[in-house]
Symmetry: C2
Subunit: 332 residues, 2 copies
């Protein structure tokens, strides 16, 4: 049986282009003992994947040129040689960008589609929700009444982090790249205020206006000049959660900017980078909490859904232009 | 009775000069109830004092032009109207740069000169030792076998932090500005290796050679390009203690450099600014520990001692040229 895959054709220099991806036909091996054949349903499109397109040391190994791109995927079991899975089960795992694939049973987790739409297990109830949860609660440690600023606030993680901060009684200010996104954050997701960085000529001033009491927690998905503006209003004993630096992922040289250490020093500020897998042992309790909030209507998922396998490269490239609101998903 | 004081004559732009200080005669008031008259013995000269010469918000309020410089001082009681102090007692407190002064009893702490030379209560057994202790132990959290890099390693705090890291079984690498200082760190204070940044054309390479297993804890007293080099070799889950940024204190514009957030993010690094007064409630137990290590010969104090009240401005300016090894003290 054959299927289609997408391999890394070449490493991008700066912003990725369609040329960096190549569609290829491949022969599927037979399903071995302890394996299943899967049909992809939903593909998770995440900013960290840009880093894996470079040949550099990070928390996940780089993609290999000529080998398939991998990502988190929700798939259905088409054929099973595993006692743990039967045809029709819906699973999630770190899998290759292929329409169909053979996977070992150990790489998969069954999901309960009675709880939420299957794509939510890539977003709110998946790595995205866990990232927001641990970054905000374990590093940001927001206290009732504090001001929480979120960059990339209309992105997958930002929109969850903001909702959790609201649940905790914080003043939440979101930074995003369009008036439409800002309106959505305020009207649909309960943010107290929002700043469109594309139409704010003086970001530091905009932060000052939106955060009259300064910034206690900065949940940073973006980096660069936006972060400089936020950090210029950081409070004593503030916490900066380094979750993403999407503004810098396509840099072709080392980005420079104002040195932040003097500010962090004189104001006793904590800055902490993390990846969600640091918290692996605590995933079950966090997922339980996220499911509870979702079922109580306290958290809402939101997705930008593109259709068809062919849309995958375009979807990933689009992340870096802010084409998504909430989680970027490609439906098979 | 008259005495001499040193007031801030003008705010420095960049490196302070002698013109920024003015000697003035003043009349001492009579000693009131609950007050003592003090004669200064030892003046503590500290990098943070540079920040107070600027008119800007920080963890301590700025010095006022026309008002005396203040700092930590060891003094003897010459006259007492307090039931808690008698003539001849030796005390320490945050006091004005004056030969003699009247101070309220509440601003002072008695010191036990049987334990150590009185000047040690400004260094190893004072704010300096406490700063090294809490920065290293509470933020740096070094584990046996880890590599700890200290910038400004021959400075007052650095030389204590390095000794404590050695006590904990770490590999300790010090960065300082002369071969003589490096030799001292290795021969007298047990550092495993040292780097003279003034004669190392490629600091990143020098760090790589001195830290073959990368850097687990970076105790930063200096900032600037030296820190860039250290951070380029920072390990996953490393801790960066922001204790000082002396390389930047005399900057006349906002210093720029490579953005560090991407590195901190991808390697799950923690960076934390602090000032020692955050730990005030834990001072007694820390001082007890420092005293114990000193009495057991596990920690050694070291001082650069200038003589005479007139040397005070020169001593403070000299800090920024690295004129001191260990604690900079002026003896009355």
């Amino acid at each position: 049986m054959t299927t289609t895959q997408i391999v890394l054709a070449s490493r991008p220099l700066g912003m990725p282009t369609l040329d960096n991806f190549k569609f290829a036909e491949m022969e599927l091996p037979v399903v071995g003992d302890g394996e299943v054949m899967l049909e992809s349903m939903y593909y998770s499109i995440d900013p960290y994947m840009r880093g894996r397109m470079n040949d550099e040391k990070s928390y996940t190994p780089p993609f290999q040129v000529g080998k398939p791109i991998t990502g988190t995927i929700v798939a259905s079991v088409a054929e099973s040689q595993s006692p743990f899975y039967k045809k029709g089960d819906v699973v999630v795992g770190m899998l290759p960008w292929q329409k169909k694939m053979i996977a070992p049973e150990d790489d998969l987790q069954k999901i309960n589609v009675a709880i939420a739409p299957p794509s939510y297990f890539l977003g709110l109830l998946g790595i995205t929700g866990l990232t927001a949860y641990f970054g905000l609660l374990d590093i940001g440690k927001p206290q009732m009444g504090e001001t929480v600023v979120i960059s990339g606030a209309a992105g997958a993680v930002g929109i969850v982090a903001g909702q959790i901060a609201k649940l905790l009684g914080c003043r939440v200010v979101g930074i995003a790249g369009s008036d439409k996104k800002i309106k959505l954050l305020k009207d649909e997701f309960g943010f107290d205020d929002g700043i469109n960085y594309k139409t704010s000529p003086d970001m530091a001033k905009a932060i000052a206006v939106a955060c009259p009491d300064g910034v206690d927690v900065y949940f940073d998905n973006v980096g660069g000049a936006i972060s400089d503006a936020v950090i210029s209003h950081i409070n004593f004993y503030a916490r900066i959660v380094l979750c993403g630096q999407i503004a810098l992922y396509n840099s072709t040289k080392v980005p420079t900017g104002p040195r932040i250490q003097p500010m962090l020093l004189t104001r006793s500020v904590l800055m902490q980078g993390f990846i969600v897998s640091n918290y692996k042992s605590q995933f079950p309790e966090a997922i339980q909490k996220l499911e509870q909030w979702l079922s109580e209507g306290k958290l809402k998922g939101t997705e930008t859904m593109l259709r068809g396998f062919d849309a995958l490269p375009k979807a990933l490239i689009g992340l870096f232009s802010g084409n998504n609101t909430g989680k970027m998903i490609v439906e098979a």
